[in-house]
Amino acid sequence: MTSTLPEKLASLLGNHGVVPANRLAEYSIDGLVPASVVQPTSREAIAEVLRWAAAEKLAVSPRGGGTQMSLGNTPSKLDLVMDLSKYHRLLDYQPADLTATVEAGITLEAFQRELAQGGNLASLEAPMADRATIGGILAANSSGPLRHSYGPARDWLIGISIVGPDGGETKAGGKVVKNVTGYDLNKLYTGSLGTLGVIVEATFKLAPFPTDSGALVAVFPSMQTAMDEARNLLAQIYSPQGVHIVNALTAEKLDLPFNVPTDGACVMAFCSGRSRAVQRRLEESATLLLERNASQVERLDEPSGAALLRRLTDLGWSAATTPQLSLKINVSPSLVPKAIAWHQNSGIDPPGILADAGFGSVRLFWWGEEALPISGVIEAIVRLRAIAQESGGSVVVEHCPLPAKAQVDVWGDTSVEVELMRRIKHAFDPLGTLNPGRFMGRL
């Protein structure tokens, strides 16, 4: 390199597009501090930086709001962080077509605010919606408490543009709600953690803004009874759109309107949609939970219901609730009642539990002040993974002490599909420029 990295970048982007050196530590990933951070505001700048970085054999990590940076394995190399949060315009919004197109750096909250003006909503959920960007949400495949009914982001993305490591922009999908023209690369990019290209533009199909919403919170004497009643609730025709179970430890973090006994558990149910239907869902669900021995059922009308929904979405990612270790177990919904006990006898402290009974996931959080023993953490991950995989499930490490991260793949598994993923990664990013080492199989 003839000039220093920041100098070269300033010549490409102007000084305002390069983050000052004293702020680089804010952009570190797993303790690795990048040599530079850029904040491009145009597609041309994104392309130019990528082209140049590839020529210089630099490793680039695309970044949105930086809300889920603990996801992924520790990068094998980190030179440049490309912060897309300044690339954030709403490009097209057609309320009458129920579609909208955005630049990748727009935050979910800003996007929803614009859509609400036209009476619509993007069926996307993500922790820290005021900072989480659309590009980041897609890359991390983020979802939220209503995912059981509305599906994850992949079900709503209809078009995408990416800039590849060679600086070339390509697109897939389009702006229509139904499309089989060419392969559905929307799916491939969603959840690829920025390893195949930098997402620059996304088009979504939208939903009408719900006219009403609300929540229920019910207390049960044990996790098992709460689990059974949640599953029972989900089987009803009037079932809420999201049903979640937490133990007492997790309930404490959610700031519920009452105490949950130490061995007890709490069922939370969320409804949204048209008013009469929402009211019926809430009423009948409350009646059922009371009949089934809930010791207490509280109904949270707005804005309390929405506030709880947000706290639940942010759980494990907000500064106040970030754990030392958190694991997400993906299983068939019917196995959720069993999966909440799989961690037992792992030798490390009892964790906080949050189960999504409809979608089929269990998140475990270790919040304690005292540092967890690394060997115990690794053993717990390996053990859980073995049990989950036997039932066709998987375990993803969301947060983890760094020494443990060095020894386990946070995505799990090195099955036969990883070889195929490796071929795809190699074809899209032959030099390993984008987020090297962070994806499954340390791709």
């Binding site: 229509v176 139904k178 023209t181 491939l188 996931s361 071929r423």
Partner: protein
């Protein structure tokens, strides 16, 4: 090349009775529901994954291209075998392996017919939502290859939204699981990109799909309009009001006449167009939305609105929609169909273009389509014995596709690109876009021996030179 020895080797894998190679036996495998045709060298009928894997491994060693085939109802030539290739027909792998009522999933073999699955799971209070009009005949394996749609995909999404996991076999015989019983799996979404890959990545040998509970209430009604323009305005008004019905289908005057000539669907013979609207959900939701849809229909100029009073009434309205394409046989012996999609607010404009094109090329066009999705199906009706008419139909189709793309739409909503539309891909995607797609195909199928010659423009046509009525007249 398909030699006598190769056919013998296939027989050694699946049993000699499950391989056909005599030209007269192969005739029905020469075409699907589209206009293209090509004779496969042989067709094999495996009964299990292991046989499929061994057939693919053998073909791979011998350099023989392979195409999977479900029921042959596809409308874009996806199942047509390339010169010197073989077909794997999944007719004998047609078992429903498991229905899991607790998790609302079904595991099936690829040859299971779409409607058979739906009928079966309805006994358990569930349903399989994607409902292509060919659902009486088309297979789930074919649905996966094409990412098939159907009227109810408006509310529930196309096939891709309903597939959880697949066991697939790649070109060299490798068996692999994509996705699984969980809604989310770590790693690249290989399941998501496999669905809709038109058989070019591999073949699915086992499929796990999501099922939905049956709704508490269903309401079906018919908006009767003086002309198609007004009916298009009603579609925009409904979607524009933030209402996404379970289904929202348009049937034009010509199609109404054709339908009513073969069955009484209760469509008024003198209507300019009808809209078939279906609402589903909780009783309260359906009741409230019904009122809003009804007023949207009246406000935009409906001449009448009829609500199906009972299941028999509802069935009748749907029979009309689903038999429309069969009924076109009463108008002309041949058809050619366009599957363009446009933003829903452009429907009226695009339908005016369809009628212009009909006049310009002197060709009859009937329209029955998924209006709520903006997915058109202009269907050109003609008699191929009339000199020059086939060429005019092809030109008309091209002009319509170009127009759809021009207003922000695309080539295909649910039928796939296949052979039929591959040369039009550059209208939508540039070379770099197509290259990204080729990279994924090459990762799955490095030798490009799975259904080669489809999707990507290459100037090679399997076109038989004349359009003919295909056996699977469904859209």
């Amino acid at each position: 090349m398909v030699t006598a020895k190769f056919i013998q080797q296939l027989g050694a894998i699946v049993g000699a009775e499950d391989v056909i190679s005599h030209p007269e036996d192969l005739l029905v495998y020469e075409y699907d529901g589209s206009v293209d045709r090509s004779m496969p060298g042989a067709v094999v009928f495996p009964t299990c994954t292991e046989e499929v894997s061994r057939v693919l491994a053998l073909a791979h060693r011998e350099g023989v291209p392979v195409v999977g085939r479900g029921s042959g109802t596809g409308l874009s030539g996806g199942a047509i075998a390339p010169e010197g290739g073989i077909q794997i027909a999944f007719t004998k792998m047609n078992h429903i392996l498991e229905v899991d009522t607790e998790n609302r999933t079904a595991t099936i073999e690829p040859g299971v017919v779409n409607l058979d699955l739906d009928n079966y799971v309805r006994k358990f209070g569930m349903r399989y939502a994607p409902d292509p009009s060919s659902q009486k005949a088309c297979s789930l394996g074919g649905n996966i290859a094409e990412n098939a749609g159907g009227p109810h995909c408006l509310a529930y999404g196309t096939t891709t939204n309903h597939v959880l996991g697949m066991e697939v076999v790649l070109e060299d015989g490798t068996v692999m699981n994509l996705g699984g019983p969980t809604r989310e799996t770590p790693g690249y979404d290989l399941r998501g990109v496999f669905v809709g890959s038109e058989g070019t990545f591999g073949v699915a040998t086992k499929i796990m799909v999501r099922l939905l509970p049956l709704p508490e209430m269903v309401k079906t009604f018919l908006g009767i309009f003086p002309d198609i323009d007004t009916a298009c305005t009603a579609v925009s008004a409904i979607i524009g009001h933030g209402i996404v019905p379970a289904a929202l289908e348009m049937i034009d005057a010509l199609s109404i006449k054709a339908v009513q000539s073969v069955t009484d669907a209760g469509y008024p013979a003198d209507a300019g167009a009808v809209l078939l609207v279906e609402l589903e959900g909780l009783k309260e939701e359906v009741e409230d939305v019904t009122k809003e849809v009804e007023s949207a229909l009246w406000d935009t100029g409906a001449r009448d609105v009829r609500i199906a009073e009972d299941p028999a009434d509802r069935e009748k309205l749907w029979v009309g929609r689903k038999t429309a394409f069969g009924a076109f046989g009463t108008i002309a012996p041949n058809y050619y169909l366009v599957d363009g999609v446009v933003p829903r607010t452009r429907l009226a404009q695009v339908m005016r273009k369809v009628s212009e094109v009909s006049e310009k090329y002197r060709i009859t066009i009937a329209n029955v389509f998924h209006a709520g999705d903006g997915n058109l199906h202009p269907c050109m009706l003609f008699d191929e014995r009339e000199p020059g008419v086939s060429e005019r139909a092809a030109q008309a189709a091209q002009e319509l596709m170009e127009y759809c793309v021009g207003v922000g739409g695309t080539l295909s909503g649910e039928h796939g690109i296949g052979l039929e539309k591959k040369e039009y891909m550059p209208l939508v995607f540039n070379e770099a876009d197509l290259d990204q797609m080729r990279k994924v195909r090459d990762a799955f199928a490095p030798s490009n021996r799975m259904n080669p010659g489809k999707i990507f423009p290459d100037g090679v046509s399997y076109h038989a030179g004349s359009h003919r009525a295909a056996p699977g007249m469904y859209i």
